[in-house]
């Protein structure tokens, strides 16, 4: 399978600690893919390696046929791969529209074009009423949506979502899931890092499970979740 994103034997060590060990998987264009694993498994490290915040110690990451491992984040973004942060990072001194405009400048150099593009993203996400509000005044759910809006404004082919549902109420989470489910129809592939198994099951076709920095299982979500090794990693051994 030719992937939009291909990881080949990616490893990352921090001193003596091997946070990622020989991680390989592919993500196809237009699919929703999940990275799951218990706390401290290395999901966020993996994310940071893909998005360019960290340089892998070993291995190759290919996006759209180009090596992106070790490239700076802004370059990876301009290739069409963008991430959100688990802890939201809005530009607090700006309005919602200005936040999104910063991202839109990645594709549109002229301010007027960027503003129009940002307006389209706002409209698409149903956030028009918030355009002039300071990002500082939003609540968690709104900040998360702003985080997605900004990412979408860079017009990506692949979107990395880090724990998008953390801290949301069930109702808010449902709305967010609907939003994510729409993305492949716009030609955007999504990788989610998520704790909640039901969410992953409802959202993603395929998943990879990571524990202690290693790939434990990869494949169709339902099969992966049913895998006894995965159950064990999450819940502990039944007979232990």
């Amino acid at each position: 399978m030719s992937g939009l994103l291909q990881l080949r034997a990616v490893s990352k060590s921090f001193g003596g600690l091997r946070a990622l060990d020989n991680v390989s998987f592919n993500v196809a264009a237009g699919e929703i893919f999940a990275i799951i694993g218990p706390n401290g498994a290395g999901k966020t490290t993996l994310f940071n390696c893909i998005a360019g915040a960290l340089r892998p110690t070993d291995g190759e990451i290919l996006f759209d046929g180009h090596r992106i491992d070790g490239r700076p984040p802004h370059e990876i973004c301009s290739r069409g791969l963008v991430r959100t942060f688990q802890i939201v990072k809005p530009f607090r001194g700006m309005t919602v529209l200005e936040n999104i405009k910063v991202a839109a400048f990645a594709r549109h150099i002229r301010p007027r074009d960027a503003e129009e593009a940002a307006g389209r993203v706002l409209a698409h996400l149903g956030m028009e009423a918030f355009a002039g509000i300071d990002a500082d005044e939003l609540n968690v759910a709104q900040l998360r949506r702003l985080e997605i809006a900004r990412a979408l404004a860079t017009e990506p082919q692949l979107l990395l979502l880090d724990e998008m549902l953390a801290g949301l109420t069930p109702a808010e989470a449902t709305v967010m899931c609907d939003l994510i489910r729409e993305l492949p129809r716009q030609g955007i592939a999504v990788i989610v890092v998520e704790h909640s198994i039901p969410v992953v099951r409802s959202l993603c076709e395929r998943a990879v499970v990571i524990t202690f920095g290693k790939v434990l299982a990869e494949g169709m979500t339902a099969e992966v979740i049913a895998d006894p090794r995965v159950q064990e990693a999450y819940l502990g051994r039944a007979d232990g």
């Binding site: 700076p72 984040p73 802004h74 001194g93 509000i133 860079t154 939003l179």
Partner: protein, 332 residues
Amino acid sequence: MSGFRTVLCVGGLVVASFLLALSDRYYMDVFILTCFYGTLAVSWNLMAGLTGLMSLGHALFVGIGAYSVAWGASAQGWPPLVTWPLGVAIAVAAAAIIGMLCFRYGLRGYFFAIATLAFNEVAFFSVSASVALGRSDGLILPTSSEDSLLMLQFFDKWPYGLIIGVILIATLAIGQHLLTSRTGYYWRALRDNEEAAEALGVNARAYKLRCFMLSAGISAFCGAFYANYVAFVDPRSVLGIDLSIQMLVYSIIGGMSLLWGPLLGAVLLVPFSVMLRNISAIQGGEIIAYAVLLIVLALVLPQGIAGWLTARWRRRSAVSRPEGFAAPERSA
């Protein structure tokens, strides 16, 4: 930030105060000093307030500009036409080198501030020890009894007022243009959250460097002007930490979130300190009064005067806060 109209208003006020100051040499002197410090503070704030790069060594660039002019005129007889661009070029190059070093090693916040301060101090002591640059006695620019446009030497003060007024308005116009462009948005994004900005496609190092170089260039321009205006430079007046602190104080008082905030600070404080210097009998009395004013303002108006004014204005014209989201559009 209602754009160019604000710059037009501020520019209009500058022109009006210039015309008023024409009546008297003393007023013109106050006008010139206000514009000088105002431009410096605005250029400093392009970095600190709008890009989040707190420099404590900006006097370095003023000094480079001033000493280029003073040394060029006194030792080589070069006209300002040569020495001004020379000074600006050296300052921009110095900023590029310092910036590359700092940003390469990821210096931020206090660490960046201390690094810039260190470079400034090195320059201060080097110049104070350099015989060619007049040591701590400074350099006196050669003067003749006749006015000379070529050497920027005038008996009247108004031509100097004209020059610094133009520099100030040009600085504001350039600043405003950049702020509404991609560069300005990227600068503010870097100020608010560098990591997020990078993830959204901002080349942090390049944009910070660009800001640093521009700011240093404007400061050097002001320094060059100062040398020609006062016809004397010494390390204390153009390289001292006092000068760097002044830029910071005007910006904080005026309001760092706005382009013209620091200018407002200078407009209020420069005439105030000139006046205090003239009336206070106690040595250093103006510094005490200054300090008191600073403390009071910091307590009462933490976002600066300009910040407070715009907050008030925004509150009056505020839209009611929406409660929830509309349903996202379906792209079926």
